[in-house]
């Protein structure tokens, strides 16, 4: 039904992106407050949205190029994602408030606009437009890391997202060919056709489903300090949203989700760069959501949405904490940090709130969402999958909960390295996130009331509390025994991107070696046979023309040529010659007329 009109949050962000180029960087102190306007509009817009009497509402579609573009579908699923996107856009903009660099804000605004556009899109074409907007804008956020490594990583990132976008485009066009519609609706796992699988593959690229995930830990650690905070929130979670919308109940997602959970923590355990550890943990945490969607019961889909909500808040917070380290100390490498707890106590405390949230510690938001997904999986009799998620929970606390803060903030005596003072707005961003992580953890109903399906799940039972405390407490003990083994070393680790590079090199090799050889061969053949043949046939034609045809026509051609030579000589190109000629000719005609009349 089309009975609703609302201020689309994307409009506010696009408007900001259009205004910013006209402002001067030196007036930053005045215009920076503008940055907070679109997030406030978005929050007001999303909070004021309600469902219709029959549930979902649609705004009037817009007609463009002969198709209807549906920019506003409002239902419980889109609302829960829009809700947290709006909040995180405010936190992210606050965190970036001190930057006079307008291009960063423009890219971030367009990126957020893309995310909102995807969440409210009612058809595949609209979705695709905003999907690509996100991909281009986020590539800029990587490039604004502003060093050679960021530039290279940005290109790799973009290449991979172009691939994902093309899979989506091919899928939606073929789907249109077959069904005649661009409707973005749930697909039944039994009725999925080849085009549905293509679209799913396109979504899987953005959701960083293993083995299509390596772009994420490659690019995010290189992006700008503030850009990474936005990126950690929107790309993968938009992908989770579209998967929940269309592909719930796909068994393969359940299995791949758990593979992601484990893959992410395995790499995070041995990585050195704090932002890369956090990036691997996006893969891992998104794994819980993908698994929940794949299992496809009301409880696990609720769990996936709740986890996406919680994850955006705590992962943003963790990236803000690691961003503060990079901003202040100039590096995010654990091997170069350590002993900073007493010098950056507030950063440490905020980071720890994020760390215990992601680890699922009771009273923080990860606890109320993660246990929901795992319990849902176990109740749906996916015992092995649930067990895999529990192992990932151990790895999460081990790597992000203890290892990272231990080696960044403690591990060494007080560190005397020079530290750049951190602007107040970065602290404020972290403070708000920390508060929300704790608030939704303490009052889970505030989150549960937003979920797509009604739930009676109670996270705070004595058994759940004890189970989580045992699991985390003894994981901590395990770290205590193994902390010397886990000591970070500089460098990075090979992942599936090695495979991408091999495929890339093979393609390049195919183009440069066999195809170039064939091209060279063809050139030779052409030069030796083709050109020579042409030359000789031209010679033969000349002989035939002069001797043969001209002879037959009794030298007429030679006569014409000689006449041409004479007239050519007459044409001197001088004006007086022509005037004389014209006068002589006129006189002769006049004489002739007079004589004959």
């Amino acid at each position: 039904m089309t009975d609703v009109s609302f201020v689309h949050p994307s409009l506010a962000f696009v408007a900001l992106a259009l205004v910013l180029p006209w402002l001067k960087a030196e007036n930053h102190a005045a215009w920076r407050w503008l940055l907070l306007l679109p997030p406030v509009v978005a929050i007001a817009s999303v909070v004021s949205l309600t469902l219709g009497p029959d549930g979902p509402r649609m705004i009037e579609p817009m007609r463009y190029l002969g198709v209807n573009l549906q920019f506003g579908r409002i239902d419980t699923l889109s609302l829960v994602f829009a809700h947290v996107f709006a909040i995180q856009s405010l936190i992210g903009m606050l965190y970036a408030l001190h930057l006079p660099e307008r291009r960063q804000h423009i890219a971030a605004s367009l990126y957020i606009a893309g995310a909102f556009g995807c969440v409210f899109a009612g058809d595949y074409l609209t979705l695709f437009i905003f999907w690509e907007l996100m991909s281009v804008a986020s590539t800029c956020l990587v490039w604004f890391g502003a060093n050679d490594r960021a530039t290279a990583a940005g290109f790799r990132y973009f290449l991979f997202h172009v691939l994902g976008g093309l899979l989506l485009l091919a899928g939606l066009l073929m789907r249109h060919q077959a069904t005649g519609s661009f409707d973005f609706m749930p697909v039944s796992p039994d009725a999925a056709r080849y085009y549905d699988w293509l679209i799913l593959a396109g979504f899987a690229v953005n959701a960083a489903v293993v083995p299509l995930h390596a772009w994420l830990p490659d690019a995010y650690p290189e992006s700008s300090v503030t850009g990474a905070v936005f990126m950690s929130a929107f790309t993968t979670k938009t992908a989770v949203y579209v998967l929940a919308r269309a592909y719930a109940g796909f068994e393969i997602l359940a299995v791949m989700g758990v593979v992601m959970c484990l893959w992410g923590v395995f790499y995070a355990t041995i990585e050195n760069n704090a932002r890369r550890i956090l990036s691997y943990h996006i893969v891992s945490q998104v794994g819980y959501m993908v698994a929940g969607i794949g299992i496809g019961t009301a409880m696990t889909i609720d769990g996936a949405c709740a986890h996406a909500y919680a994850h955006i808040l705590y992962k943003g917070l963790l990236f803000m904490g690691a961003g503060c380290l990079l901003y202040s100390a100039g590096t995010a490498k654990l091997s170069e940090l350590g002993g900073l707890a007493s010098r950056l106590p507030l950063v440490m405390i905020c980071y720890m709130v994020g760390a215990v949230s992601i680890s699922g510690m009771p009273f923080f938001n990860g606890f109320v969402s993660k246990t929901m997904t795992i319990t849902g999986a176990a109740e749906a009799h996916h015992t092995w999958l649930a067990l895999g998620m529990e192992i990932a929970a151990v790895g999460t606390f081990l790597s992000v909960g203890i290892k990272l803060p231990y080696f960044a903030f403690w591990s060494k005596p007080k560190n005397d390295m020079p530290l750049k003072p951190i602007p107040w707005n970065m602290y404020l961003g972290m403070g708000i996130s920390s508060f929300l992580c704790l608030f939704t953890g303490l009052f889970p109903q505030t989150l549960y009331s937003l979920l797509p399906y009604p739930t009676d799940y109670v996270p705070y039972t004595p058994w759940h509390l004890l189970q989580a405390s045992l699991l985390l407490g003894f994981t901590g003990l395990g770290f205590y025994y193994m902390h010397k083994v886990l000591h970070p070393k500089p460098g990075r680790n090979l992942d599936f991107d090695v495979l991408y590079r091999i495929v890339g090199r093979l393609f390049y090799g195919l183009v440069s070696v066999p195809l170039a050889f064939l091209d060279g061969l063809w050139n030779d053949v052409y030069e030796k046979l083709g050109l020579k043949g042409l030359w000789q046939s031209a010679m033969a034609t000349i002989v035939f023309d002069t001797k043969g045809i001209d002879g037959v026509l009794d030298g007429s051609a030679r006569g014409v040529r000689d006449f041409g030579g004479v007239t050519g000589r007459l044409q001197t190109g001088r004006l007086q010659d022509y005037l004389t000629g014209v006068a002589a000719l006129g006189l002769a005609i006049f004489a002739l007329v007079w004589a004959l009349w």
Binding site: I270, A341, S342, V347, L470, F474, T475, L477, G491
Partner: protein, 86 residues
């Protein structure tokens, strides 16, 4: 913004007293296992979950095994220098 030095000094003291914290943590862990004897899962989802200390053992074993296998066996094979990607 300048960070609070009082808070910093407090954390330094805490770091100096890490031995006492360690003892306290051992006591807390012990208390948790004892609690587990009285509080058990009413609907065990995993075989063995009803045994007291199951999740304690699960956390400890996987933390130790994961650290060892990943850092001592996998890491040397897949580790490269930071520059190897440039």
């Amino acid at each position: 913004m300048k960070e609070s030095e009082t808070l910093g000094r407090l954390l330094e003291k805490a770091q100096a007293a890490s031995a006492s914290f360690r003892k306290a943590m051992y006591l807390v862990l012990l208390a948790l296992v004892v609690l587990n004897v009285f509080i058990v899962s009413h609907h065990p989802h995993f075989p063995g979950e009803e045994i007291p200390g199951f999740w304690a053992a699960f956390g400890l074993i996987f933390a130790v095994v994961m650290s060892f296998v990943l850092k001592k066996i996998i890491f040397p094979v897949i580790h490269r220098t930071e520059e190897s990607y440039d």
